[in-house]
Amino acid sequence: MIMEVDELQPILEAIIYVADQPVKPDQLKEVLPNESFDKIELALTRLMNDFNSRPGGMIIREVAGGLRMTTRPEYHEHVRAYLKTKPSAKLSMASLETLAVIAYKQPVTLAEILAIRGKKSSTALSTLLEKKLVSIVGRKPVVGRPILYGTSREFLIHFGLKDLSELPTLEEFAEIAGERF
């Protein structure tokens, strides 16, 4: 049965609601084999427009190559009060710096990270591996075949990124760095 985009839209909304991971278009295509990718994409675009233009407490966002329904960040105080939770443990500055180097220089070895940061980074790296924000992506074809690290899908989810291209370029940070001095 072929559906109209208007019929498709609420179905996609329902699926995005129940999903515990960002929903990718090809997962939707699997569930809706008779519908074309184009139509699914169109329905998703319309859904995002409609859903996000209403002044609701929820928002559909593009995260890690998929769509995810979350509460709007501006209501965090009230949600947190209801859930009786405290903000979860955040990453240390050392971990964030190491992560920044990996994100921008990937694939990268531990020695290269050390060269850029000018200090040991193995503790921070193991924290990042443990939190699955970083993963081993291979080995560098040089003497000793050192391990190469890269960011994971979990990294995109953790920082609410659609994909790596959503990160500002390093040059943008250079401008900020230049202005500071």
């Binding site: 710096e97 920082f159 500071r180």
Partner: protein, 252 residues
């Protein structure tokens, strides 16, 4: 003087306890340099190396006094600074070709290293802000039924009668002659089943009949199990169709 003594004694006790503070992964030499430059509002393109080197070495000494484990990279940076300082002090090489008058500033490499480091510090700040936002949103909590217990089939009365019938048949085939055996009441049997289920999460339906000495005993056991089902104390299930019937505590 007194202050110095206090500091010294504290350092001594720290030494004797072999307490060392490790700065691994926290601040490195580049962080200290950036800190000094910012504090002194120094133009990064024109670093007064002599002054900065002096301050850097002061901090290094302070760290040693406080028994902070000064890792190799701190000493490498100290050496680099001293090297740059000495090169700046040297008069330009008179033998060098005058064409190369624009000799490279010995500070350039360090400046680029500092700028590069600052870029990543800014990038880390951006990640921090993003994390902050992500910590302020929630998704729907995972559903309870998604990955629940293994699918099981509740057993009907007819399945149960069939199973019991098989047990009786097997019993009759095995035993040529019925032994008298002890008399057991349904109530006693119920107590026995309850006791068994205190230590076992689930048991095979057939296991309750394995040690029965008489047909009467089989029937009493069967009736006891039925009674417990009626009371919702136990429930009977199969992991798949035609699998052995199992008994476990609780209601469903």
């Amino acid at each position: 003087m007194e202050n110095n003594e206090v500091l010294d004694s504290r350092t001594d006790s720290a030494n004797s306890l072999a307490i060392t503070i490790r700065l691994d992964g926290f601040e490195g030499p580049l962080d200290l340099l950036l800190h000094l430059l910012k504090r002194e509002e120094i133009d990064i393109w024109n670093i007064p190396i002599a002054r900065i080197t002096e301050q850097y070495l002061e901090y290094l000494q302070l760290m040693k006094d406080l028994n902070i484990n000064v890792a190799g990279e701190w000493l490498v940076m100290a050496a680099t600074l001293i090297h740059i300082k000495s090169r700046l002090l040297l008069p330009p090489d008179p033998v060098a070709a005058p064409a190369e008058e624009a000799q490279e500033d010995p500070r350039t490499e360090l400046v680029y290293q500092l700028l590069e480091h600052q870029k990543f510090k800014n990038a880390a700040q951006m990640l921090y802000t993003r994390e902050e936002v992500e910590n302020a949103v929630w998704i729907r909590p995972p559903g309870e039924i998604l990955d629940g217990e293994p699918d099981v089939i509740a057993v009907t009365l007819w399945d149960l009668l069939r199973a019991f019938h098989d047990i009786v048949k097997r019993f009759e085939a095995d035993r040529a002659m019925e032994l008298g055996g002890e008399e057991v009441s349904i109530e006693e049997k119920i107590v026995e089943v309850r006791r068994l289920l205190l230590v076992h999460d689930s048991l095979l339906f057939s296991s309750f009949f394995a040690r029965s000495a008489s047909k009467r005993h089989l029937i009493v056991t069967f009736l006891a199990l039925l009674e417990l089902v009626r009371l919702h104390e136990i429930w009977l299930y199969q992991e798949r169709a035609f699998a052995e019937i199992q008994i476990s505590k609780g209601k469903r």
